[in-house]
């Protein structure tokens, strides 16, 4: 018969073995050896802290009470593991790239490094975790008591054994969980010890199972018959509980702080998930393989009223198989201790990083980060946190009296931590999830969980029975276990349904309505698109002088060696010769992540902020810079517009200049033409006057002829000068118009008579006098001048044998159109564009005109608001004069 003393000895020996393994593993990891410590197998085995004493002992008890329902808590994690490719892989990648230290850190990091959120998650985790620890303590105590009962000689006191167990676990957790502030919070010693414990508990359960199936029942076939014949021999699982528990255990598997610790924080290689994806479900399958047989055999063999939760121990004991019972005890002990140690570690990390450190930092405000050794503060905070958490668990156990109430704690804790799920999943897959949303969801879920499950579960300690029966203040629809009047649901199913659905709704609505801060949006993008870019947000800038301060601070947190190593590596990477790296944003960002591995993202951010201080660049600043550069861009585009305008103006100026040059050339050529025109008559006048002066004996006839020539030339000069004067007056626009009323007919009458007066050549003028009865209001003399010019041109240049000029007039919509067409050969096409230019003459100068007539005509017509054009295709030369019937001032 195994005495209690032997049991205690074995137990202590086992603990010593664990210490040894943990110590050796830490040493090996520190020495850089032991690659197997980071193998997928160790990773998979460490995940099995999911199987606590609650599952080791409780699964059999659960099976004895409600058949196959117990497998739900294994099936949930199995579903999570087989969907690792798009679920856990992302979580682990995010956790590694952001260097998160706990699930609270992850949530806080995702929602803009908000410490409020981290505190909320921490409180939730502690509230859910403490009773869970109490449950483990209970299981150890119960299993002790079984042996104590069997050994009447032993001195066994329940209270003191719980105390010593709690103390021992706290010491183990402190020794191996807070030995160092690891770069990445990895604890090789603890993980290895846990892996060993996993093997032990699996082996123990399999051994008991094998003993039951082959030793007692006599093989698989008889066992199956026995199962069917037992009182739980029928499938009788409630559909709601089946679905809810699978979902709940899947959610808790991801959200439990201890699972997050081993799955994400302690993960050394993302590829380990690939192995764990099938190996861990296999582990779970093996763990649950013999649960029903043990339960059935226990129900058969054990007396009525014995605790089915302890069948794993009592069945081998009742068969006299003490060593098997001992093994099974060690298995249960392993399950309990590994869970407690990891939970205490994970919770203490959260408490110290998100509660203690921010408070400590705020008390250090102003004196900077140089006072005090941060490293020691963090470690001390963790050690104290572990002790406090263990003490809480111990007192919870003492308060609850260790009764059956604890048995339901497992699912209560699951439902509690599952409240993190919406914020976690939303944060990983939805960029629109905001801090406000996460806070709202967590608060709603937490309150509902406390109100509908935690308080009612305490057996009237904190919630009076009347509230449970009739609701608060007699409001029936607020009854904690029948919200909105929906009764008859299982309490767990009720809580999970209401809390998680309202949690999710609050999370979504608040996220949709709120607007995230820039840092939050940046972090959101990094989390959701973690595969695209695994870099942290940039936000620091500093000067070289701060490198030393940073170094001092980093040494305090990471320890002197690793800090110097890190700074050295950074300096080398920057290529500088100095031993201190420049505080570039990239360096500060890496340093922040490095530090966040030890003290959490929010704290690391705050600490670096204290040193880099005023020159820290917040994302808001960056956005302000972006705004400014947007303004600069706008300004530069305005400049571009102006410069384009200038270019246009310059081109216009160039064109104007070219025009001026052209005009100047025109003026020069005009002057030379005028001089030429003036010189020709002057030459003949001078020549003939010299002849008359110097030639003796000129006859009177000759004298008369010469004088006539001189007179003619002088006339021509006068006419030329008159024309020039006239033209210059017209061109400069200084002409005074003498507007009067008359008919076209009388104007034409006068023009024809004065043009044909004293003519030697006969020119027939054809007119339609009736059509010419159009009233005119214009400068009649100037118009007459135009007509005279046109008629005399026809008289001069028409080369027909019997020259005929046809003048026809029309009234076209308020305008008078008068055509002058003769029957000569007309103007050759190439000269037509030139006839209105000054000094333009067609062919040989017959009549000695200066070539200014038509130019003057054009100017006059422009002044009168009309025009004169050459009209081709009339048989001879034809001109069309067009002018308004009533002279308008605006026409000028």
């Amino acid at each position: 018969m195994a005495t209690l003393n032997i049991l205690i000895l074995v137990c202590l020996g086992y603990v010593v073995l664990l210490f040894g393994v943990a110590f050796a593993a830490d040493r090996m990891a520190a020495a850089g050896r032991g690659a197997w410590l980071r193998s997928p197998l160790v990773y998979t085995l460490s995940l099995s802290i999911y199987c606590t004493a609650w599952t080791f002992y409780g699964a059999v008890g659960n099976a004895a009470r409600s058949g196959l329902e117990f497998v739900t808590i294994y099936l949930g994690p199995t579903l999570v593991m087989i969907s690792w490719w798009w679920g856990l892989r992302k979580l682990v990648r995010v956790g590694r790239s952001q260097r998160v230290t706990s699930i609270a850190d992850l949530i806080s990091s995702r929602y803009g490094k908000s410490n409020t959120l981290a505190i909320c998650v921490t409180i939730l985790a502690v509230l859910g975790g403490t009773p869970y620890i109490a449950l483990q303590l209970q299981s150890i105590t119960l299993s002790f008591s079984i042996f104590a009962e069997a050994d009447p000689t032993g001195l066994y006191r329940e209270g003191s054994s719980v105390f010593w167990v709690a103390t021992g676990l706290a010491v183990f957790a402190i020794l191996f969980g807070t030995r160092n502030l690891d770069v990445n919070e990895r604890h090789h010693g603890v993980v290895t010890a846990i892996a060993l414990e996993s093997v032990v508990k699996l082996f123990a359960l399999l051994a008991v199972g094998a003993f039951v199936v082959w030793g007692i029942a006599g093989g698989v076939g008889p066992m199956m018959d026995r199962i069917d014949a037992s009182e739980i021999g029928q499938w009788n699982v409630d559909a709601g509980r089946w679905t809810t528990f699978i979902f709940l255990s899947a959610a808790a598997f991801v959200c439990l702080p201890r699972m997050f610790q081993v799955m994400v924080v302690e993960n050394a290689d993302e590829g380990h998930l690939r192995t764990a994806a099938w190996a861990f479900p296999l582990y779970l399958l093996l763990m649950s393989l013999f649960v029903v047989p043990i339960a059935v055999v226990g129900l058969d063999l054990m007396p009525e009223g014995s605790n089915p939760d302890l069948f794993v121990l009592t069945v081998p004991l009742s068969q006299g198989n003490d060593w098997l019972a001992m093994l099974s005890f060690i298995g249960g002990f392993s399950s309990a201790t590994s869970m407690v140690i990891v939970t205490a570690m994970a919770l203490s990390t959260m408490v110290s990083n998100h509660v203690v450190m921010p408070i400590w930092l705020s008390t250090q405000e102003g004196s900077g980060s140089v006072s005090g050794d941060v490293r020691n503060v963090v470690l001390l905070a963790r050690r104290v946190s572990i002790a406090v958490i263990m003490a809480l668990g111990y007192y919870y156990y003492r308060l609850s009296g260790g009764g059956a109430a604890l048995a339901s704690i497992g699912f209560i804790a699951f439902a509690g931590v599952s409240q993190i799920l919406p914020a976690l999943v939303g944060g990983l897959f939805w960029r629109g999830a905001t801090r406000t949303g996460a806070l709202a969801g967590l608060t709603v879920g937490f309150l509902l969980w406390v109100y509908t499950l935690l308080l009612p579960g305490m057996d009237g300690v904190l919630m009076p029975e009347t509230v449970l029966q009739n609701g608060p203040f007699g409001l029936g629809w607020l009854r904690p276990q029948a919200l909105f009047g929906i009764e008859g649901m299982d309490p767990i199913v009720h809580t999970v349904m209401w809390s998680l659905s309202l949690n999710t709704i609050a999370f979504c609505i608040a996220s949709l309505l709120s607007f995230p801060s820039p840092l939050e949006r940046l972090q959101g993008a990094q989390f959701v698109n973690v595969y695209d870019h695994s870099v942290a947000p940039r936000g620091w800038s500093g000067s070289v002088a701060q490198s030393e301060d940073l170094m001092i601070m980093t040494q305090r947190i990471l320890g002197a060696g690793p800090a110097q190593e890190f700074f050295q590596a950074e300096a080398e990477q920057q290529g500088g010769r100095s031993s201190l790296p420049e505080p570039t944003p990239a360096f500060l960002e890496r340093l922040e992540r490095e530090l966040s591995g030890s003290v959490g993202a929010a704290t690391a951010h705050a600490m670096i902020g204290q040193i880099v201080g005023g020159s820290s660049v917040s994302v808001e600043d960056l956005l302000a810079v972006a705004d400014e550069s947007a303004q600069l861009l706008e300004y530069s585009s305005q400049l571009e517009v102006k410069s384009a305008e200038l270019t246009r103006t310059a081109r216009q100026l160039r064109e104007a200049n070219a025009k001026l040059t052209q005009i100047s050339e025109q003026k020069d050529s005009f002057l030379s033409q005028v001089s030429h025109e003036l010189r020709t008559p002057m030459t003949s006048i001078r020549a003939f006057s010299e002849i008359m002066r110097d030639t003796e004996g000129l006859s009177g006839e000759e004298q008369t002829r010469y004088a006539a020539i001189i007179h003619d030339e002088a006339l021509r000069l006068t006419r030329l000068l008159d024309d020039l004067l006239d033209l210059s007056v017209l061109e400069s626009g200084r002409v005074n118009l003498n507007v009067g009323d008359d008919t076209l007919r009388s104007v034409l009458d006068r023009a024809v008579s004065s043009a044909l007066a004293g003519s030697s050549r006969a020119l027939t003028v054809r007119r339609s006098k009736t059509a010419e009865r159009i009233p005119l209001q214009t400068d009649l003399d100037r118009l007459g001048q135009v007509f005279i010019n046109l008629i005399s041109n026809a008289k001069k240049y028409c080369d027909a044998d019997e020259p005929v000029l046809t003048i026809s007039a029309h009234d076209v919509g308020g305008q008078v159109v008068i055509d002058f067409a003769d029957n000569g050969s007309g103007i050759p096409p190439e000269a037509r564009s030139m006839v209105f230019e000054k000094f333009a003459r067609v062919g040989v100068d017959k009549a000695g005109g200066a070539g200014l007539g038509l130019a003057i005509c054009r100017e006059i017509m422009q002044r009168l608001g009309g025009e004169i054009t050459y009209l081709p295709g009339q048989g001879g030369a034809a001109f069309r004069v067009r002018l308004p019937m009533a002279y308008q001032q605006a026409a000028q």
């Binding site: 058949g67 969907s83 499938w235």
Partner: protein
């Protein structure tokens, strides 16, 4: 299809057909996404079972155990096969960004 796997380098027009290797890889990740649904469907079957309280004969516990553990084993084997396939594929495509270069 998740954007991280279908995204092509910007500016490059994605071709309609993929080479055989990446086609297989994508179908593999499709399979990974389908796996939990298959598992959930298998585990939802017991919801249809009679609990033996009516006139019908209920499902015996041994058959229930047999069914559930078989499903479980199927899921494990599927996950194992996928794990090996994913590892083989990963051998061809080790292009993920190195994030921990400076860590040690």
């Amino acid at each position: 299809m998740s954007p991280d796997e279908d995204r092509k380098p910007s500016g490059v027009r994605p071709s309609l057909f993929l080479e055989r290797q990446s086609y297989r890889r994508r179908r593999l990740s499709d399979a990974a996404r389908l796996m939990p649904f298959l598992g959930a469907a298998l585990l939802a079957i017991p919801l249809l079972w009679s609990d033996g309280q009516g006139t019908q004969e209920g499902v015996s516990l041994s058959s229930a155990i047999f069914y559930i553990f078989t499903c479980w084993a199927v899921m494990i084997v599927a996950s194992l096969v996928f794990g090996f396939a994913a590892r083989r594929m990963a051998g061809h495509d080790e292009s993920e960004p190195e994030t921990d270069r400076w860590q040690r």
